[in-house]
Symmetry: C2
Subunit: 354 residues, 2 copies
């Protein structure tokens, strides 16, 4: 297969880890006879520095014509004092919205050799495997009005959703539950928010279409507790944008290794943007020590969700797993009796394992 892939390295360690993902993807391409064509564009602080905007038109256009997008990371204190519309994050929010990537998939699954680094007791996290599905283009992130009022003496943000926006993400969640263990946890704040009450109604309506899937409703505050007390009780979780932001980051600590976690932001036709969960880590940028495995696993998600290359994706995932089992790790991780290596070295080891 022939695929056009846009690379948006962004800020901090973005460039280094993107390079690693490219190396891995090229290996997969030659092994399986695919052709991946890469086009690199600017986003975030990098784009601000070069073009004065976190999301240049050129980048948007390229992404719209691509089969998939890989993103490194955006942000850094360097741009923190800029006005809101000129901050690196606006680039990320803008490209999600522009491409209509309404479904954010955040698989939370630890690697056995790293589980010891979890702040949770081993017996609590053992076997933990959660898929968080977060609505990504609605809610408080994009609702209008979002403004100061009354001479700056008041402020409003708006949590707004179309029924259709809720329906499509909830459908996606039911479908995902079917591919896993047929259990869906829907998280809302229906005892307070009208939007949550509509959300819950739609989940209950949709359940008629998926009678094989069992549904549990959980309030967001209760979910924030249960994720820590009984993480293995969850399988697929679906929730709106801001709750998903908070809960998916909270859940990421279960695995003990934020640097390993990938994410996918997709829409119905399969076009998607793939990025690691970790940030741009400006403090270690350029030192060649960043952990590229979250980025590499994000590339694997791309193969799976955008290109239907299940086998290729699984091979990358196994190569990463093997690499950890062989004891290799970057500076952010620890493996007893293991060997700390650089970004380049760990990438080579993954490639050898392919």
């Amino acid at each position: 297969m022939n695929k056009q892939i846009i690379l948006l390295p962004g800020d901090g360690v973005g460039k280094e880890i993107m390079e690693a993902a490219k190396v891995v993807l090229n290996t997969v391409a030659s092994e399986f006879g695919h052709r991946f064509t890469f086009h690199q564009h600017a986003i975030g602080g990098d784009a601000i520095d070069q073009y004065g905007t976190p999301l240049p038109e050129d980048t948007i256009k390229a992404c719209h014509n691509a089969d998939a997008v890989l993103l490194g990371a955006v942000g850094g204190s360097k741009w923190d004092s800029l006005p809101a519309h000129l901050r690196p994050e606006k680039g990320l929010l803008g490209i999600r919205k522009s491409l209509g990537l309404f479904a954010n998939l955040r698989p939370i699954k630890g690697f056995a050799p790293l589980l010891h680094a979890s702040p949770l007791k081993e017996e609590v996290v053992k076997g933990n495997d959660i898929m968080i599905i977060r609505e990504l283009t609605g809610g408080l992130y994009f609702g209008k009005p979002s403004e100061r009022r009354d001479n700056g003496n008041a402020v409003v943000d708006t949590l707004s959703y179309q029924r259709s926006e809720m329906e499509r993400i909830i459908d996606k969640a039911f479908q995902t539950a079917r591919l896993r263990s047929n259990h869906l946890t829907s998280v809302d704040k229906a005892n307070v928010l009208e939007s949550s009450r509509l959300w819950r109604e739609i989940v209950n309506e949709k359940q008629q279409d998926y009678p094989d899937v069992t549904v549990e409703h959980l309030l967001v505050d209760a979910a924030a507790m249960k994720l820590i007390t009984q993480p293995t009780q969850f399988d697929v979780i679906v929730t709106e944008n801001l709750f998903g932001d908070i809960l998916s980051d909270e859940a990421s600590v279960l695995t003990g290794s934020l640097g390993m976690l990938p994410s996918a932001s997709i829409r119905t036709d399969g076009v998607g943007l793939y990025e690691p969960v970790h940030g741009s880590a400006p403090d270690i940028a350029g030192k060649g020590i960043a952990n590229p495995l979250g980025m590499i696993l994000s590339a694997a998600l791309m193969l799976k969700h955008s290109f239907q290359m299940e086998v290729e994706a699984a091979e990358i995932e196994e190569a990463v797993q093997q690499c950890l089992e062989q004891g290799y790790h970057t500076a952010d991780l620890k493996i007893a009796g293991g060997k700390q290596v650089s970004t380049k070295e760990i990438t080579e080891i993954v490639v050898e394992n392919l």
Copy 2:
């Protein structure tokens, strides 16, 4: 001192634990020569059953004339199918708003004999002592509009704040930080929400008035992670209503014993409502096995925050601590080599320790 205290036992285990708090308060009163007069009123599902509304006028009036209010718990699946304005939680939200209780204090501090029940590793939670200060009468909880639109095909909720509402809670937080270790963490989502940007501005402005307090700004998603990975790095946390709801419940798991945690909801003149963090637990209601210690510790918070009875409050806290050290616990807790006792028995032990 002579104090009028309103008791709102509410639903589920509310009645049993309220009875326990009363016994303890009466003991303190006779020991210290105070006079506490109790008036019991209905709220939540109990009020719905009796009066057809979760917050009768009579209850509101009584609370407005009182020195402080103790609340047990509200809610239960029995009332889940009622329309939103007739749900037990509306009673709780209504009384907070009506009394203007803008500051919710949630101390998160584990008891050594119970820490083993935390899902977190002991070395992660050891020494953990956090005070979460949550804004309680603004934000998405009360913002208008909050409604269906477009024939039910769309929905909005509104996150709205007055500058003055932010100022008073942030002042409270700085003052609280001064009484502890002079460190304040302010949590917001300033990279997305306009309300968070105003919040952050006000925190920075206010810091000029409290130069002895150091301030850290943290995004809510990062805070949700750090609460689990490095809980002992926090001292006082201040945040808006919904973030506070989620983070305070999340933080409660650190201690390993939700049943022990008290909360205070207060306003500037000291009038306050005090309730345990746990819910109404309808499954064990009426069995005489509920844990009354969260309620008893809430009564201690009342003595401290509403009545300036620091010594009396400390005495209750020590009596509870002793009781656990002696190995006594209710069915929801475990202490190795300890003895499980009933609601009544554990209350008597606390009283003996006073």
